[in-house]
Symmetry: C2
Subunit: 367 residues, 2 copies
């Protein structure tokens, strides 16, 4: 298991440079580091000063780097899908489509990158994985995938099972599955593969929710749009259950009152970091915080069973920007173009919300 660290912030604030410095710093401390980037363009290699490919390669002692290439990852995943098909399906037809011809649709880069990160994490080869991504809502949606997908499976499975449609289709499922598949399952035909997926999703959800496993840091300059973006991403990160450990203030201008920035990001620690010049990475590396302080940062969600309360940390949002609804069986929170369905412990499940109020930066929901 690795510690997975990513950086959020507006484009042009130096996220990639910081990611590289963090990777170098960990490597210099003897950790086995994998530095990944989702940016397929030339900038990553220019900043790192080394060529990087679609497979991890050592760029300095303890430090491997990889540039995710969606087309290549898709090819690899397609081969796995074809193998799975060949195992379960009598006369596979995916085998007639080649991974080398599959086009890349939006969202695939997130799904495939997350899957690649999961595999590198599971490999046991790395103590730390640094994820250089778009650093915005896209990164958050990627890390939110396990939770959102779990919800889709949970919700649609239930609705389908309860529906006339499910009952209408069920007599056909057995004959089709025995005609098409090489196995004759009894009972719930899709329990086995679904359970496998669910386990992976649960592992993903648990990792993202644990700041010892996954953490994010904000990167900003003293530019007001960069600060506003960092604040927005800070709040949005909570909506996917991701802990933000602190703020890195890149090239602070002398005229700026650091106090103003501290106020905007309280209670997070703020670290000023210097400009990197040319090959001189050391000053930047030395200025980086110990990222383990993320464990002290406010948790995105706290459930208090005794008080029958759920506390959501939502910095940067006020009550007007947060929508709380109970249309389906779960409580849904909408904020910052993210929607989160809260999977409640059985004690609170199905109960109506009695009230909700903001206390500081937290939304307290009472049942």
């Amino acid at each position: 298991m690795s510690f997975i660290l990513t950086f959020l912030g507006k484009g042009g604030t130096g996220r990639t440079t910081v990611a590289i410095a963090a990777a170098k710093q960990y490597a210099s401390q003897g950790k086995r580091v994998l530095l990944t980037t989702q940016d397929p363009g030339p900038v990553f290699e220019m900043l790192l000063g080394k060529p990087v490919g679609a497979e991890p390669q050592t760029v300095e002692p303890n430090l491997n780097a990889v540039q995710f290439q969606t087309a290549a990852l898709l090819e690899k995943s397609w081969e796995q899908v074809k193998q799975l098909e060949a195992e379960y399906v009598r006369t596979p037809f995916f085998k007639n489509v080649y991974g080398q011809e599959l086009g890349v649709l939006p969202g695939l880069e997130s799904a495939l990158s997350l899957n690649a990160i999961r595999e590198y994490d599971a490999s046991g080869d790395y103590d730390v994985i640094i994820v250089d991504g778009p650093g915005d809502q896209t990164t958050l949606r990627m890390l939110g995938m396990p939770e959102v997908l779990s919800w889709y499976i949970r919700r649609f499975r239930q609705v389908f099972a309860d529906s006339d449609l499910g009952r209408t289709l069920s007599p056909f499922i057995q004959p089709i599955s025995s005609a098409v598949l090489t196995v004759n399952w009894s009972g719930d035909n899709f329990a086995e593969p679904t359970q496998q997926v669910n386990n992976q999703l649960d592992e993903g959800k648990n990792a993202v929710a644990d700041p010892r496993r996954v953490a994010a840091y904000l990167v900003t300059t003293s530019d007001e749009t960069a600060i506003a973006t960092a604040r927005y991403l800070w709040g949005s990160a909570q909506q996917v259950g991701l802990t933000v450990g602190g703020v890195l203030l890149n090239q602070p201008s002398l005229s700026m009152k650091t106090a103003t920035i501290e106020e905007q990001f309280a209670p997070l620690p703020i670290q000023s970091i210097p400009f990197r010049s040319g090959e001189h990475w050391q000053p930047l590396m030395s200025a980086l915080p110990s990222f383990t302080e993320a464990e002290q940062a406010p948790q995105p969600i706290t459930i208090d069973l005794a008080q029958q309360q759920v506390k959501l940390f939502l910095p940067g949002f006020d009550k007007k920007q947060v929508k709380l609804t109970q249309y389906g069986p779960e409580v849904t929170i909408e904020a910052g173009d993210q929607r989160r369905n809260i999977f409640l412990p059985s004690e609170l499940r199905g109960k109506p919300v009695k009230g909700a109020k903001f206390q500081g930066s937290s939304l307290i929901i009472s049942f």
Copy 2:
């Protein structure tokens, strides 16, 4: 039909500022303009200096602005899906899931934004639609969706029809469809809805391929990583069939030789644009080019039937970075983490590639 204009470039180069200036410039010329942004954060409103919502609203004469909110668009689309389901399905089950609880998965923002742009385009309310998006590979994948989706439908339909699986399933399709659906189709049960989708995809493909309908401009500063990113996006845009009309050079430093930049982007016109300061948009607006010059830019693909040649304009890539394969029934070009299957005219379809060579920035494929 509207003219759809977007800007590509590295984060922090001023793409959003330029998009706003272009929208203001068109509006000042009496065009009916819709300015859209896919950035859900606070920066768009800060730069525009006006509040913007999920529905278009007038921010100045002739100029409407809208901030796409994926969660809201998803809710709206879900209602349409439910209506469609209710029309065709005897006992709909989607109706038991509420749009207000649906979580946002990666890729949905691209699909839903593109669909919203399509609807605004079809409404006839706008002469120009300015699209402020992530401005990177994500924007290109969004605009490439109609072509890639068409390919998936074409390819998998054919493979399925030819397969044992298709033949095995076909006896079940009729009883299921009559049990589940309110209609009894004969023959190809899914011809009607598929044809509708195909028509929309064809319209989208044709629009993206026509620089009088859709065009992109590159935005860069004189920073070397910004220039490299712009060049990479220039080449990648060709892979989705999108014409790049020119380059906007933001705040050129006095010391920089413009000639160096011109060389890197030849034959595109390069326009230096000034810094916007505060409310003074006019100098920036006046410095913008007439975006109709995109019609003179090199076309992404040219087919010469007499010579049996296909010419692909791929600036910024050399032969090593481009992969040409013929695994499936079409010719596949891979470059810049994009894969394109070229749908050839019937005269060339199914023919093997005889040779391929780079001529200037173009790849000439001979059949």
